[in-house]
Symmetry: C2
DNA sequence: GTCTATAGATCGATAGAC
DNA sequence: GTCTATCGATCTATAGAC
């Protein structure tokens, strides 16, 4: 067998969509390494164990999310309308139900009661998600009202992702996004 | 060893809280049978395999939920206020975040992308959940508006359960319940 | 209680870049 | 040659199942 050249970044990129749609517990190290076209042992060269892999996956997703979300929100060149549109595109990319929904929510429900290993990262992710929405809502609402609305929107969106997955029907997440848009633009 | 007399109902009752909080994938047949104080082989006498067990668990939860929810909703003796109060108590019992949240949502996210085995039951559960809320909302809203609100409330509640579990803070589910109450009573 | 499959994990060997 | 990224093989524990 010829050796295959890879990198940790490449491996993470290939592995994230699988973990998102199959879930953490249902993805074995063998399966993941096979999907990357490398030996399992090589996987352990990159990640000392499965927990370590998942931790890196969640951190990668979180930092990608943060970078893009706050780039939009803090832009001076975009109108509020444009910010909302771009945010919707970002959320669709990260949360699309047909691709497994929100890996943070999935991992939370899969692991949080057994092992709080990933709790901090997940908490931090949702803190930023809520904060981002709050900042957009503060254009038309008071700080306190904006926070409460942001929390409600995150709940609505995550619940919408759940129902959309259960029924294979995008209307639930779409309705949640519409309500979010309405609240931000104060329509 | 003395023989232990059990029944399938007893086993289900003991097993449900474990599956709810640990999740389906993280609960082994050995662990579950041990928790019931019976031999693993006896478990396979009741349930032909793990899938069969989970199916019965979900059906049991669903029928318990349905029976109690619609008993409240269709009662002639209760005021709308009382119905809302009783429904909140039922939801708290079934969905309490400290006890593992909503077993239907948990199982959905754990399994739905691998294996649609439990999909029908979960779909049917949420259909009834939405329908129940819709009937309460129809007192003060049109049929279509009531359906849309009911879907929104279910999303809000399920998202609230998620955030409450992630942050160990009941405020998210409590806020969702308050919003639901407000919408039903038309305050 | 036992069987079989598969999970996570580790080890020693080596191809290939320098 | 050395170094290190990669491989093949294997260990141990535990899962579901009967």
């Amino acid at each position: 067998m010829p050796k295959v050249k890879t990198s940790k970044e490449e491996v993470l990129k290939k592995v994230i969509p699988i973990l998102r749609s199959r879930g953490v517990q249902n993805s074995s190290m063998s399966e993941l390494s096979k999907a990357c076209g490398i030996q399992k042992s090589h996987f352990y060269y990159y990640f000392s164990n499965k927990e370590d892999l998942i931790r890196e996956v969640l951190a990668t997703v979180h930092s990608y999310f943060n970078y893009n979300l706050f780039k939009i929100i803090e832009s001076n060149a975009l109108s509020l309308n444009e910010k909302v549109l771009k945010m919707k595109l970002l959320l669709d990319k990260l949360f699309r139900a047909s691709d497994g929904g929100c890996i943070m929510a999935n991992t939370a429900l899969e692991t949080i009661h057994l092992d709080p290993t990933y709790k901090k990262e997940i908490q931090s992710f949702f803190k930023d998600f809520i904060l981002g929405l709050q900042q957009l809502l503060e254009v038309h609402h008071s700080t306190e009202k904006a926070l409460l609305l942001a929390e409600q929107m995150v709940q609505d969106i995550e619940g919408g992702i759940l129902l959309t997955q259960i029924y294979d029907d995008p209307k639930y997440i779409n309705n949640a996004m519409k309500r979010t848009e309405t609240a931000i633009l104060n329509l």
